[in-house]
Symmetry: C2
Subunit: 396 residues, 2 copies
């Protein structure tokens, strides 16, 4: 292509954050898996953080009906009032807590929720505490605002969830928030409500806020997990319709803000994204029907069966699972005893055994090189096949 225009005297601008926002290892792996599939190789996918179910029928029907009624314009910036009320009702039912709809903002994915939360709290140069290992995008939302993500190493002994002593060690007066996940990615571990309350109290006393990523709420197995809102009214809650509700591609989530942040959150929503997608919001209204809930619970049961197969199967192969995963659809497994680091194991399993998993390195630097994350977002049959291939490869 011909380049027009004058020759620049100075190089083109590039923001400093670009050097800090690194690609995920799993993306390269995913691309390689697709290449192999394009050449006819069969790959068992245990790397993907997306449920393998299509969106449930009642939700699709609700979207289609709404489209046929001509609902294609913007909604209010905070979301459809009926959807905000439905989410408030969901908290009443699932967590026994009364959250005013005015504090609930429907967002373009949990991404939009995290973006607004960070924009409410964080100035450039300020710090946010993040457990390591943890969800890798979170630190990049901090870097996006030229903030400083502070990795807080967390131990298997405390379920890879931060203790007050962990936070104390990395505290700095420039800290404005901590983001914790429960159930967490990549570990699938949950944080007791009493611990969430203690962390909130510790932060609030220091003028910082607690942000709880609850996007895997609803996907717990054998534990009954209420929202952090059940014990503290003034935490920021990030949630999503992607996981339990199975709406990944619709890009819909929500943010609950503490009292006093409603006006600022609304102004940020108006400016940063105008409103969440309208068809998605109409689909989401059907999430709270009995028919949809029955479907979601059936799917949760399938995830439970998969976890209950995969966890002992991995241990039998020699993986260590130092903290029991009780939610989400991930197992964070130590491959050190197998004689492999996570990155090499991931690459070789893909190339030589046709099994795609995620290296722990994507989730931080706290011993993550010894770990891999396995997602049970494939059918039980495919998971059996994946385990069979890993067993054969490890034995060879």
């Amino acid at each position: 292509m011909v380049r027009h225009g004058s020759t620049p005297e100075r190089p083109p601008p590039r923001a400093a954050r670009l050097g800090e926002i690194q690609p995920f290892h799993v993306m390269q792996l995913l691309n390689r898996a697709r290449e192999l599939e394009a050449r006819g190789r069969d790959i068992v996918h245990m790397e993907i953080g997306e449920p393998d179910f299509p969106t449930a029928g009642p939700l699709v029907s609700a979207a289609v009906d709404s489209l046929h009624r001509g609902n294609t314009g913007y909604t209010p910036a905070g979301g459809l009032p009926t959807l905000r009320e439905a989410i408030a009702g969901h908290y009443a039912e699932s967590s026994g807590v009364d959250v005013p709809a005015e504090r609930i903002f429907v967002t373009p994915g949990a991404s939009g929720a995290l973006m607004v939360a960070m924009a409410l709290l964080l100035d450039s140069g300020q710090r946010v505490l993040l457990p390591d290992p943890g969800y890798p995008c979170n630190r990049n939302f901090v870097r996006h605002l030229d903030g400083v993500p502070v990795s807080v190493p967390v131990a298997a002994e405390t379920g890879f969830q931060p203790t007050l002593a962990d936070l104390e060690r990395y505290w700095h007066e420039d800290c404005v928030a901590a983001i914790v996940g429960s159930p967490a990615n990549p570990t699938g571990t949950v944080m007791a409500l009493s611990q969430l309350a203690a962390v909130r109290d510790w932060l609030v006393a220091r003028g910082a806020a607690l942000v709880v990523d609850e996007i895997y709420h609803g996907l717990t197995y054998g534990v009954d997990l209420r929202s952090a809102l059940a014990v503290r009214d003034d935490v920021f809650i990030v949630n999503s319709f992607s996981k339990y509700f199975g709406m990944t591609g619709w890009r819909l989530g929500w943010l609950v803000v503490p009292p006093g942040y409603e006006g600022a959150a609304m102004r940020l929503a108006q400016n940063l994204y105008i409103a969440a997608p309208t068809p998605s919001q109409h689909a989401a209204l059907a999430c709270f029907t009995l028919q949809a809930r029955t479907e979601f619970e059936a799917r949760r049961q399938l995830f439970l069966e998969r976890r209950d197969f995969l966890m002992p199967a991995l241990e039998e192969l020699g993986f260590g699972i130092p903290a029991r995963p009780e939610g989400a659809f991930y197992i964070y497994a130590d491959c050190g005893a197998l004689g492999w680091d996570g990155a090499t194991l991931s690459t070789r399993l893909l190339e030589e055994a046709g099994v795609a998993i995620t290296p722990g390195l994507d989730f931080g630097s706290n011993g993550t090189d010894r770990f891999v994350r396995l997602a049970y977002t494939s059918s039980l049959e495919r998971l059996h096949e994946g385990v069979r291939r890993m067993r054969a490869w490890l034995a060879s």
Copy 2:
């Protein structure tokens, strides 16, 4: 509600930007208009920046078909490859320019595009040049990253578009970009390609980038406007499926990045929003069919008729229209000669005449208090009614 937890020793954190991101006057006005309507008043809406047409049938059908085929998962972060190719084809057809699909990123609305562009270019404390009057969210995208939006007053004589002399006056070595709109909001004016090229050359020589907001492209009347890409390959282009393509609520836009920014843009997309909404992307694929284009052109013809009615009608009422609007669906009208400032006129017309318009103050501080913006996003019949009401009110 009972507040749990300890009493804070320090106040809760609030980012400094919250003091700078102000609500739009038009929002208050819109809420008041809805209140009046709820009480039974009839309001002529000339304040809304959203086409009054529902999304075209072929697009809705494409979305519904795709949903029924189960396309509800994430797309790649850059967008559906077929959609990126279709947009590249659109540039070839509409602007005679070859843009590689790899440089086109499908985004959650033009908002997502502007967010990625700013994240690529702007560090905290750096400056972005913005014409005043101009689209008010743009300065807030700069503030979002703790950047400094620099208002560049632009004159009616140059169509409210910046000249090199205008930019020179506000240049500072911390400037990394200028954002210009063509067709522009609120003025509806377009910028000649030769001028866009000159502005790009001037910026690039100084190590800054040109971002062109082309979200109203396609909606021009009597002028044939090609993309800035037709004259310069290395500008950032923000575009949207909302306006010409009539997809507001679907939240879909795109960003074209200069060569060399593709990798960083992809990483930002993966982190900041994962992907644009999938149903919206499948709907958008139908935008480039003959059937849809015929519909879009018929709608453009209606907008043209509305402008050609409203512009002389406003002048006859005593409004000044110092720069001819040739695109978008806005008229930026001076009400000074009528003896009113824009804010008072907007409030009183709503309360006393049942006509909703936007005060110029929302678009900057460069003489904007003398102006109002009228959107021709209502039917010709309703615009007639609005003009009739304004005439009666002004005469009373």
